[in-house]
Symmetry: C2
Subunit: 163 residues, 2 copies
């Protein structure tokens, strides 16, 4: 019950992409440098993001990544599922149907109570993430940014953002 470290990378990268002006792009090398993470591995995640239709990639020089939709239309759940896969965390193997009490399939018409409870919990988790948009996160980050970090980021952006 622990998710990959790449989720954190992707979420942070999404907030960076959300902060740049319309139409502008940022190469993967810049995204990796901004958080001081492995560029090669980040590319793998960015590719998954592109396949999911969340990010858009522009090839060639002056190319890079940008959000495929407006930040308001992207939820944290979208990003998490794109990286980790959309399968539920709890997978029911139906072991209740095994062993000495095994009976005909018709005896198990009701869904597994444990399976139902676990998926109920995951539904709450997903609902919480789905209700939080990327724009909301960037807003909060923008508000809590110190003057020093804000200034450094502005300098870095003007040097790396490509129209």
């Amino acid at each position: 019950m622990k998710m990959g470290e790449s989720v954190e990378w992707t979420l942070h990268c999404a907030t960076v992409l959300a902060a740049l002006p319309d139409g502008a792009v940022l190469p993967a090398s810049a995204l990796a440098e901004f958080h001081d993470i492995s560029e090669s591995y980040l590319l793998k995640q960015l590719r998954a993001m592109t396949a999911a239709g969340l990010f858009a990639s522009i090839p060639g020089p002056k190319g890079g990544y940008r959000l495929a939709r407006q930040p308001e239309a992207i939820s944290l759940l979208d990003i998490v599922l794109a990286v980790e896969g959309d399968e539920p965390a709890f997978r029911c193997s139906e072991i209740r149907k095994c062993g000495p009490t095994a009976s005909s399939p018709s005896a198990y018409s009701a869904t597994c109570a444990i399976h139902a409870a676990m998926w109920n919990a995951e539904r709450s988790w997903r609902a919480s993430l789905a209700s939080t948009s990327l724009s909301e996160i960037t807003r909060r980050i923008g508000r809590s940014l110190s003057a020093e970090v804000r200034a450094k980021a502005q300098v870095w952006f003007t040097a790396n953002v490509r129209a």
Copy 2:
């Protein structure tokens, strides 16, 4: 974002233990046979369950496992955390503090917005699991049990349960 298969095993075993009369125990071999799963590996999980204070183990012949508390006082969250560990699924590495915008620690007094949002979601998940007791699950399972399965289970219980 997927939890181990052993969680399912442990949850089902907990429902079985919850079904047996007060003071009675069930050896690990019987629990493994009931669900047709590996006994050796199940023992590992049962040990974790005992260490967490959820199950109690009785050594020697006529020994086995039983619940350490009443089923009403055990939640699904207790079991899941005992098996998977109580660390949050999302771990914040604070990568926001890395890279070209890095500043003094005092500049990051506010908690990471992404971290907060992810933990908020996990809190919903945990709350859902914490609000479901083991007794509630056994009740639901008991209601949905077919006559055939119920009869087989009763026979198996009288043969394996130890006072």
